[in-house]
């Protein structure tokens, strides 16, 4: 039971692989992914009506307090180029 940071990301489905790669390079070893996320953002609507390549994916993970900044900086170029959301909140991790 630790106080940790809970990070949630939404990126375009086509960017899932590069994002995971960067996360893994940053030492993230545990994460959960929910696919087929639709929504709306700065880059317009993302849907899966035609093909799920144009939908989004949601990634949930945790990190120690203070590590969220560097994770964000590493993903920033992808998020800014292709769109995406990056939120951090506080959580207590019982098992994570």
């Amino acid at each position: 039971m630790n106080t940790i940071k809970r990070i949630e990301i939404v990126v375009p489905a086509i960017e899932l692989k590069p994002v995971l790669k960067r996360l893994e390079n940053n030492g993230v070893k545990k994460y959960s992914i929910i696919r087929h996320v639709v929504g709306r953002g700065e880059f317009g609507e993302s849907t899966d009506d035609l093909d799920d390549q144009l939908s989004g994916v949601y990634i949930l993970m945790t990190c120690a307090i203070g590590e969220e900044e560097s994770l964000y900086l590493d993903l920033k170029p992808i998020l800014e180029k292709f769109g995406g959301m990056f939120l951090v909140s506080d959580a207590v991790g019982y098992r994570y």
């Binding site: 375009p12 086509i14 960017e15 087929h36 880059f43 317009g44 609507e45 899966d48 009506d49 035609l50 093909d51 799920d52 390549q53 144009l54 920033k76 170029p77 992808i78 800014e80 180029k81 292709f82 769109g83």
Partner: protein, 328 residues
């Protein structure tokens, strides 16, 4: 006379189901075909048309004519985006112009399939190699589109890009190996390799169900196209005009080339339809990755909500009418 052909085209179940889809949206019905069913239909259609193409090629054999047709196909797939780009630059920025140009340089497999269904109905034959032409025309426009952006964007005005630009080899690989092209070409080769024996086993699946599944797929396309039309509301007359006139221009060039190369009526129609159609899946997905500055809802909606229905409903029968007149 033209009208009777349009009517005969429209009275095909697949085309009528496209209208049903559009009507469902306009009447606010809650009819829906959830993913991944449309994806399955599309994989099925690529498999079926590829396999049949391979089987037809066995029957007809290879010839010089086929090689020339395939070269013409690649040429058109490279040329269309180039002249489209310069037309589009009259009103649009580099990114959107390039993305739309790529979209129109590529093809719509379902438009091709709908045209081939009309030919089958009218008992007009066509060569299996036209499926190879379809495959060859899917990807070049992606490369041309990216090329146009990189050429146009001056190093100075380009914003410093923290994500390393995708190298050319990677772009080529991705363009040629996107899932649709890959399945289509693989199915064609397997149809070729396994001959009559393979065809006999696969036909009840790939041929007999073809029309029914095409109906469902076009029903879904109707639903999606009608939903996307709203996206074009703020698009303005230039973009709408382009979506409806560009297919006609490309068709005219296609018909001319087909005549020049002495294609049969069936092959000529399919070649024309490849030139006239625009991509709404493979190219948009590639552009979303490689030209993220462009607006996907613009280029997808143009190809899907205007050009696609235009070709399906009036384009195909008119192109066929013109070809039949010119060829006799």
């Amino acid at each position: 006379m033209e009208f009777s052909l349009i009517l005969s085209n429209i009275l095909n179940p697949p085309v009528l189901f496209f209208f049903v889809g559009m009507a469902a949206i306009w009447l606010k019905s809650d009819l829906e075909i959830p993913q991944p069913l449309p994806k399955m239909f599309s994989l099925y259609l690529l498999f079926a048309i590829g396999f049949k193409g391979g089987h037809e090629i066995i029957k007809s054999g290879l010839s010089w004519d086929i090689g020339i047709t395939l070269l013409a196909a690649i040429a058109m797939a490279c040329l269309v985006p180039i002249y489209s780009f310069f037309i589009l630059r009259l009103k649009l920025d580099i990114y959107n112009a390039a993305a739309i140009a790529a979209t129109y340089g590529s093809i719509s497999a379902v438009t091709f399939i709908t045209a081939s269904a009309l030919l089958t109905k009218l008992e007009l034959g066509f060569g299996g190699h036209m499926v190879a032409a379809l495959a060859l025309m899917e990807s070049p426009a992606i490369v041309v589109g990216i090329f146009l952006v990189r050429l146009s964007v001056d190093a100075g005005e380009q914003k410093p890009d923290a994500v390393e630009a995708v190298p050319w080899t990677e772009i080529l690989r991705e363009a040629c190996l996107n899932g649709s092209v890959f399945l289509l070409v693989s199915s064609l080769i397997i149809g070729l390799l396994t001959g009559e024996n393979g065809w006999g086993k696969i036909k009840p699946f790939s041929d007999d169900l073809f029309y029914g599944i095409l109906c469902f797929f076009l029903l879904d396309m109707g639903l999606i196209a009608a939903r996307r039309i709203n996206d074009l509301k703020q698009a303005g007359p230039f973009v709408i005009g382009f979506s409806l006139l560009m297919p006609v221009l490309n068709a005219v060039i296609g018909i001319g080339l087909a005549k020049l190369l002495g294609m049969s009526v069936g092959n000529a129609l399919l070649f024309t339809v490849l030139c006239a159609s625009a991509s709404y899946i493979a190219v948009p997905a590639a552009m979303r990755m490689s030209v993220p500055e462009a607006n996907p809802s613009l280029y997808i909606s143009m190809a899907l909500a205007l050009t696609f229905p235009f070709n399906i409903i009036v384009g195909i029968p008119i192109y066929l009418q013109v070809i039949q007149r010119l060829w006799t």
